[in-house]
């Protein structure tokens, strides 16, 4: 028997999209670490969702190499989400991936009211197509401009300038990882911390005005593990 009225706190949808580089240079170890990292991130994401009853976390994924496609096209409740492993082959059509994201974020394709979307871009190289056109298409969408955008630069050849433009906030840098361990860890970080910040900003440190208009994200923890020099990307 219920003791009181039943209603729980209302939730707004939060669209979360991974945008993953599947170009040939990702083949082998990198793409496997990425697959492993995303699988590892799902449970912590579910925990964030559970701790933020005002957010309904809906997850999708885009892959890009020769062109870009939806890897998971339906916004899926994080509690029902499963990851199918990506494989890598081809060039780095990052611009097309952002076009795809821009379409998804069009006002008509989005719920009427929601929380800021979270976009996590993972890449190890230079775009081979028109990145700027893709970026512009995305930023032209109100939901794209409102999105919390995070980028992980994998290895030394990642194009930091491009990733920085994607993020769009000078004070927030791409997260650079050079070994598998850090990649896995940072995927988890990028999949949970911004999610938490976008669904329900937590204890705010002083000196950070909430008027800044940016979803505040705590700094990613720096690696304290000894780096295995043989674990080369």
């Amino acid at each position: 028997m219920a003791n009181r009225f039943g209603g729980a706190l209302a939730a707004r949808p939060l669209q979360f999209i991974w945008i993953a580089d599947c170009s040939g240079s990702m083949a082998g170890k990198k793409i496997e670490s990425l697959n492993f990292g995303i699988r590892e991130a799902i449970q912590p994401m579910r925990e964030v969702a559970t701790e933020n009853p005002n957010a309904q976390v809906l997850v999708r994924a885009i892959k890009f190499s020769d062109g870009a496609q939806w890897h998971v096209s339906q916004p899926t409740e994080i509690h029902d989400f499963k990851w199918a492993d990506l494989t890598a082959d081809g060039v780095t059509d990052m611009g097309k991936a952002l076009q795809l994201a821009a379409d998804a974020l069009k006002t008509n394709n989005m719920p009427e009211r929601g929380l800021p979307p979270v976009l996590v871009l993972l890449s190890d190289g230079q775009p081979t197509d028109d990145f700027n056109a893709g970026l512009k298409a995305m930023m032209d969408q109100p939901w794209g401009a409102k999105a919390v955008r995070v980028a992980i630069a994998i290895g030394d050849d990642a194009d930091l300038d491009v990733l920085q433009q994607f993020i769009g906030h000078p004070e927030r840098k791409p997260i650079q990882v050079t070994n598998a361990n850090d990649l896995v860890k940072m995927i988890k970080w990028a999949s949970t911390v911004p999610l938490k910040a976008a669904s329900n900003p937590n204890s705010q440190p002083m000196g950070q005005s909430i008027a800044a208009g940016v979803v505040p994200i705590p700094a990613p923890p720096l690696s304290t593990l000894p780096i295995d020099p043989s674990d080369v990307f």
């Binding site: 209603g7 706190l9 009211r113 900003p201 937590n202 909430i210 505040p216 304290t224």
Partner: protein, 446 residues
């Protein structure tokens, strides 16, 4: 496991001189990670800070809490000692472990637990009382929110966690502004820093959430906000805050689920608001009208304690559906009848009640009196009943109020005769009987 500390690692604690051995990773938060550890022979929780949060200011604040201040009540998981190591940068602190019976207020608002109103009112009362004590000690909590308060869904006992942001009132060296949904408007606008007065605002928000499963400022206006981000919060919580039950201005009123199925504009509040006594509505109205604009005109902890203890006394059970209803003296005076039960719509009969000074205690089959009922100066302690309603041992139609104190009471019946009620004896529940409990006198009514 975590990267910060490893199982079996031995740390030193500063004041006790005992070692602290890391046993198990419990969880990570925004400022650090928490481990189960053995402090001497005592199992404890150890919080270890991330390198970027392990500031000298935080260290100084903890040092002060450990050496200069005792936990205001047992309801605080207070820093007991600082921990560090020669082999590691940074530091941490030890505190009591939170027992598994405690559940987060998040579990309440997301409907994962279903406590009774009595439990919730008890939790609210303990919250108000805990912050009364904390503030009386000259301290300020700074970050009252869902995530930091836990309670036992069986009895309403509360536990205030994350006490590492507690500072002396007016000190500005600590790095936490609060959690946006609970921040006083003047902090949201960047005009003030956390203080005792802003804690009072956050406390009122938390109490409103507990009783209404809604935010007091989220009404109609949120329906025109597409993206609920920080600028939107700045608007509704900082620049244009307006209570969803503001008697003067309905432009942000709570919207029923039948009008907005998402329920995000206060649909739960529409259900709960009318079922509580007028005094609770009046107190929330004060907290979120004058108290919204004027930090010196907020509802104080002492006032909340008074209101919530009366609210607890007002609970009785609907004889038709068994659910808790609230007795409303004001309402009864104006309309001369109890309203229908909000859950089954049938009209319940009132039980016997005991008028005790300002409060009226419903003498339900499970009613108890506690020390604060018989003496204003006694703490709220719901583990030590001083009286309870019992059934007559041979005639179950007769009910009585049993004396659980070690002092005798004296009763005066309606016809003027007096009688002693020794410890363990019971006063029959008969309308018109006056009971002298020593410091206070009560009258049984029906």
């Amino acid at each position: 496991m975590s990267d910060l500390l490893q199982r079996g690692q031995v740390l030193r604690t500063k004041h006790s001189g005992q070692t602290c051995t890391v046993e198990q990773f419990l969880g990570g938060g925004g400022q650090g990670e928490v481990f189960r550890a053995m402090w001497g022979t005592m199992p404890v929780a150890l919080k270890w800070y991330f390198s970027h949060t392990a500031t000298p200011e935080q260290h100084a604040a903890l040092e002060k809490l450990v050496t200069d201040h005792k936990p205001p009540t047992n309801n605080f998981l207070w820093p007991l000692d600082l921990a560090d190591s020669d082999h590691l940068p940074g530091y941490g602190y030890v505190m009591r472990l939170r027992e598994p019976r405690f559940r987060s207020l998040l579990d309440l608002v997301s409907g994962r637990i279903d406590p009774t109103f009595q439990t919730l009112v008890t939790a609210g009362l303990q919250l108000a009382d805990s912050f009364y004590r904390l503030h009386a000690d000259g301290l300020c909590y700074r970050d009252i929110s869902f995530g930091n308060v836990f309670f036992d869904p069986q009895n309403g006992e509360i536990l205030v966690c994350d006490n590492d942001n507690v500072t002396e009132n007016r000190s500005s060296h600590c790095g936490i502004l609060g959690t946006p949904d609970f921040m006083a408007p003047e902090i949201v606008r960047g005009e003030a820093l956390p203080s005792r007065q802003t804690d009072l605002y956050s406390l009122a928000v938390l109490l409103f959430y507990i009783f209404h499963i809604s935010h007091p400022l989220l009404g109609r206006r949120i329906l025109s906000i597409r993206c609920w981000d920080l600028p939107a919060r700045m608007k509704l919580f900082g620049n244009e805050p307006l209570f969803i039950f503001d008697p003067q201005d309905q432009s942000n009123s709570a919207v029923a689920e039948s009008v907005d199925p998402t329920g995000e504009a206060g649909a739960n509040a529409v259900n709960y608001w009318p079922i509580f006594p007028q005094i609770l509505r009046d107190t929330f109205t004060k907290a979120f009208t004058s108290g919204l604009r004027d930090p010196d005109n907020r509802v104080m902890e002492g006032e909340w304690r008074g209101v919530l203890s009366r609210l607890r006394d007002a609970i009785f059970f609907c004889e038709h559906c068994g659910k808790e209803n609230f007795y409303d003296l004001e309402m009864l005076k104006s309309s001369d009848s109890v309203g229908p039960c909000p859950f089954c719509q049938k009209t319940p009969r009132l039980p016997y009640r005991l008028r005790l000074g300002k409060t009226v205690v419903m003498l339900t089959h499970q009613a108890k009196l506690f020390p604060h009922h018989l003496d204003d100066h006694q703490p709220f302690d719901f583990t030590r009943p001083v009286a309870e309603v019992v059934q007559h041992p041979t005639n179950p139609n007769i009910w009585g109020l049993k004396n659980l104190t070690s002092d005798k009471w004296v009763i005066t019946t309606a016809d003027g005769s007096t009688k002693d009620v020794e410890p363990t004896k019971s006063v029959p529940l008969v309308s018109g009987t006056k009971v002298s409990f020593g410091r206070v006198e009560g009258e049984i009514r029906h």
